[in-house]
Symmetry: C3
Subunit: 502 residues, 3 copies
Amino acid sequence: MGWKSKLCTVLLLLSVLLAVNASLDYTEKDPELKQCKDQCRHQRSFDQQQRQHCEQRCDDYIKQKRKQEKQQREGGEGGTSFNKYDQEQQQQQQQQNPYLFEDEDFETEIETEQGRVQVLQKFTEKSNLLRGIENFRIGVLVTKPHSFIAPHHLDADCVLFVFQGRPTITMVRGEKRESHDLERGDILRVPAGTPVYMINRDENEKLIIVELLHPVSLPDHFEAFYEGGGEKPESFFKAFSREVVEAAFKTETDELEKLFRQQRQGRIVRASKQQIEKLSHPTRHGREGFWPFHGDEPSTPISTSSKTGPFNLFKKHPSQSNQHGRLFEADSDDFEQLKDLDLRVSFANITRGSMTALQFNSRSTKIAFVLDGEGFFEMACPHLASQESSQQQTSDRPRYQNVRGDLRRGAVFVVPAGHPLTTIASRKGNLQVICFEMNAKGNVKFPLAGKKNVVSQFEREAKELAFGVPVTEVDRIFNKQTGEFFLEGPNNQEQGRLWSVV
Amino acid sequence: MGWKSKLCTVLLLLSVLLAVNASLDYTEKDPELKQCKDQCRHQRSFDQQQRQHCEQRCDDYIKQKRKQEKQQREGGEGGTSFNKYDQEQQQQQQQQNPYLFEDEDFETEIETEQGRVQVLQKFTEKSNLLRGIENFRIGVLVTKPHSFIAPHHLDADCVLFVFQGRPTITMVRGEKRESHDLERGDILRVPAGTPVYMINRDENEKLIIVELLHPVSLPDHFEAFYEGGGEKPESFFKAFSREVVEAAFKTETDELEKLFRQQRQGRIVRASKQQIEKLSHPTRHGREGFWPFHGDEPSTPISTSSKTGPFNLFKKHPSQSNQHGRLFEADSDDFEQLKDLDLRVSFANITRGSMTALQFNSRSTKIAFVLDGEGFFEMACPHLASQESSQQQTSDRPRYQNVRGDLRRGAVFVVPAGHPLTTIASRKGNLQVICFEMNAKGNVKFPLAGKKNVVSQFEREAKELAFGVPVTEVDRIFNKQTGEFFLEGPNNQEQGRLWSVV
Amino acid sequence: MGWKSKLCTVLLLLSVLLAVNASLDYTEKDPELKQCKDQCRHQRSFDQQQRQHCEQRCDDYIKQKRKQEKQQREGGEGGTSFNKYDQEQQQQQQQQNPYLFEDEDFETEIETEQGRVQVLQKFTEKSNLLRGIENFRIGVLVTKPHSFIAPHHLDADCVLFVFQGRPTITMVRGEKRESHDLERGDILRVPAGTPVYMINRDENEKLIIVELLHPVSLPDHFEAFYEGGGEKPESFFKAFSREVVEAAFKTETDELEKLFRQQRQGRIVRASKQQIEKLSHPTRHGREGFWPFHGDEPSTPISTSSKTGPFNLFKKHPSQSNQHGRLFEADSDDFEQLKDLDLRVSFANITRGSMTALQFNSRSTKIAFVLDGEGFFEMACPHLASQESSQQQTSDRPRYQNVRGDLRRGAVFVVPAGHPLTTIASRKGNLQVICFEMNAKGNVKFPLAGKKNVVSQFEREAKELAFGVPVTEVDRIFNKQTGEFFLEGPNNQEQGRLWSVV
């Protein structure tokens, strides 16, 4: 923790500086950034390690500052993303929605001609309220048709979902090699440290994969290790010293240099039609023993154990389905690979203009990624309210704050356990969302409106005592909506006022 | 972590301020508090989120300050709670007992005419030495006879112990409703997120319930979500926007407003004799199919699976029993609901003037809540000593510090694994304590005095080498006390000196 | 967390001070230390608890400072431990190798005539990059022949490995006593809180034991509790008050004082030939019922359940073996006691001048302790690189940093999951290393050079696409080395340049 504490010293000087110099404008080379980093460098008590952390923090600060200033500008112009709200709520939304992530919250890890990988910032960088899921990260992979993702391994477990494209993934497991042709709807677990490469064998369609990552070496950070490569990407073999690699490979360095110099196109490259063909359906090749012509060694048999293969979400009967939407779910009973992560993966397709019934998960915290469509979610959150002022904690009112976020393709939102939620699809088209739910074991979904809603299950006297009205009043309202899970949405989506404060 | 680091900047300015202005007196509106919060508001680099944390920290600081000043005053007057100690120890006790919690360490979450709920502060707020149990919280529920606790769910697992009163608890589990008439000694697990309501069906006796809570969404913080309510308590339904609830309930807002406006009495209300009757023994009603008259829907059958039912601690044979006290214990072998929390629950009734033999738990850290009586505990703690000065760490003496705390109804004390402990009941009456023990699996209780004490089991030569005296000397002392677990207490409880430093 | 934040205020003032007074020289009584601690004492908002943490932090800071100054001096003189490196790398190594620990990173817990116990600093004190293993500690016990380690228990689970000497360990388990004669190669689990004492029954050889510790009460800190003792060591019984011990033992204090006063020799004392004999092979004695003459009570039967007994690493067939080295491994399948810690223990004996093939663990982070010999390790680390500057994160090059450390007896190095590593033995003699590997379950060792190396298992097209060269080029290099796991080492170990940057 040492460096953290020391860090403060720097951030103090920084903020003092701010107070003095508050009108400073942001530019690509923000003077604040320079000053902040200078502070880092002049801390005699810092070792290199700490200095790096310190400077990184400076970058984070500037980034954060830029984002806030952007929001303030938008706010000033009446707001783009929150124009449904009166001014007060607008502020609240902009500054107090720690559960919604948008484009600027992603960092681009890879970007080449052929595709890119983006990783969502650490949840705890957004808000301390997300520390319960700080050990998970979200990533997105998008590539052009006929692309090849270079061989690498991650120091993180990965659960991937194929939303679009037709990838073939090849993993080296111990002394076996294993390949799977994947398609839309497939879930697959890539165990931490597994060397893996992938193609998009589709000629026309982009590949879109969403990944949940669970680092194994550091709690909240992971890295990619590239076996192959040259100038670009750099292979980790290049990090070793001359004499070590010469001995390891029984090879002169200049030979090695030849090999590790050619590749210049980066981690995602274009593959030829023929290469794609060869790298597809390797299981068929395998069975027909075409290997010799592939230059594979007999020591590399092929396995296609279903225990390690994919699971297709869409081939399972939907757990909820009506004209307003469909829900597909898989947990460890369906797919053993989800067991040790205690995970459920679900795909919701909400019909245009429809909504999910108010409900909550008893144990699971949900990370949702919007794959397509537009809409918004609303959630009741007591945690935000309870932070606002500890004085009021002793009063007899929990204040549930309305957390609302606009959803569009690529948005991520987090729904903590116990929090009542509803998701609404705009009238423009269906809203498609892939969800990763933690603590899946023993979780129960409790509906709060529509059929089987919780309140309707209370006893007569409980209803009366809870609401202070005759039970008939309670029942009339809670029994009126007869739909289940997916309901018809609100007619007017432009109206954001809270009914209860009218 | 960003906000934490930035926070420091504020606390610095605050403490500088303190140095300058050290004679400041505390008042309800402490100027320091104002200044501290101003600092928070003027941090340009803070978003709303961080600002809230910052201000909360200010409140904590002031609270802490008030408490310390209170102690100092008491200390000055010769001390009320520590008057058994010479001045030096007094200071030590006041400032260095992170293992004892008293009234001022509780926060009142609910307070109505009919009852109240109090929750103990986070353990890590008291001391970093308690970070091993930071994921657990302690709560107490006290209500008048014939009271009703409104339906709600928590984002925490809860293990409750009924000390007094006759509650009936009703839980909604998935599509089933389940009710249990509880009595003194019952333990029950309420899974996280389970909608629950409760009555005290006793006409005369107060209800007293002690709860261990294990948050599932945030590691160390939980909130209550109220399904019902009106003005008071507020229902979480009110957090949603007009168009959303109208669509969800297929109901006009003004109708909803009527329903959600009536209740004004808060989360714990008085129930009529008739309502209590109806809400009691629902299992019997259930069997006899009286439901129609209860307005229950057929879709709500009743389950009383013993897997989800209560376990009565007092109906089990005591694991220790003599004229000096009795111990009742339950672990996951007795009660499966304790398994995933790896928990043991035990109830000790120490006879007036008696004590527990010195002993320690091999793995379990124990959280003890004093239900009745008075007395004190003594514990030997090397962690406190080792913090005092790291210079001495290289010397060849671990210094075990005497940690002593006065016990009275409502006090909580924590006993870390491995720490030798004894608890003494005053001569005024029996001391009754309920204990929650973590890491129960594989835990062993090692007696250090009386029958089967650890030292008596060493080999002859080990005793000689350990104490540097003839084995007969060792045996004479360690075999003299023939009592087991509960022993006769000290004649003179007014004497606090450490014998070894005489 | 309160104290941490407040701490910053102090460290700030300290560092300001530093800026002003940067030329200050270090002396045993460093004025900075005094000033730092003064700052701690004058924080009105600190309670005793926080003050201690604060002062401890001051000590840590000074310690750190001293170490860095030492390194700078060495660096200035051309460096002792890093003289294989050009100046730039030298700096890097000295300041940026968070994975290597040497003598000054150990703290001496015990030191007597007869022996000593040393514990490695917390991993997170060295670097935040090690937070993934912060719950583990490393300890070393070294004693003379015929020594006795006094009875005590730890609030930590302990897995010990006997490298040298012939210890007999005796544990009290519940109401049973259990003894084991151990020898070179034995692994044994001592459960947290188990009272234990030990002898080195060898007349000539030193006892050398390496321990992995897993604290149960605090995540990263443990303490020893001594049942016996007198002046030195101090027994924890001395921490209790007069009236309490008198009642507990039914004995006058002055008698207790006599008993707890004699021992002055500390926690590791010399035992007589006769005492050693009696404390050895207690199982044989047990069976032949010699106890009465040992003064043992019938209530102390002897158990030698194999479930609790030792496992000898060297009696298992080596998992790797050739003229360049041998590897012995044990996991929970071999030795159930490793199961709940999810641990693998392995011993590598690398022949002089040999090396381990480049490889990585898929899930396991490894803590390695050098028992004998000299050499060095090289590792490719992307985490260090990624910290250096977050700007470059968006560029398409992961930069793998060369982490190299000189190894000598007593050195500890950490290898995070996924990180390619090679260990090289000097020509002077064999390099012997004991390794503790976390997250053992499902871990796979992936070779990166020699037989079965990962790259050779890629398909022809994958090789071409990864390296951008004809597959024959790739195969020629990756198939040349036919050795497995242990390989012939580099001829010239004096050359440290990175081949790839030539």
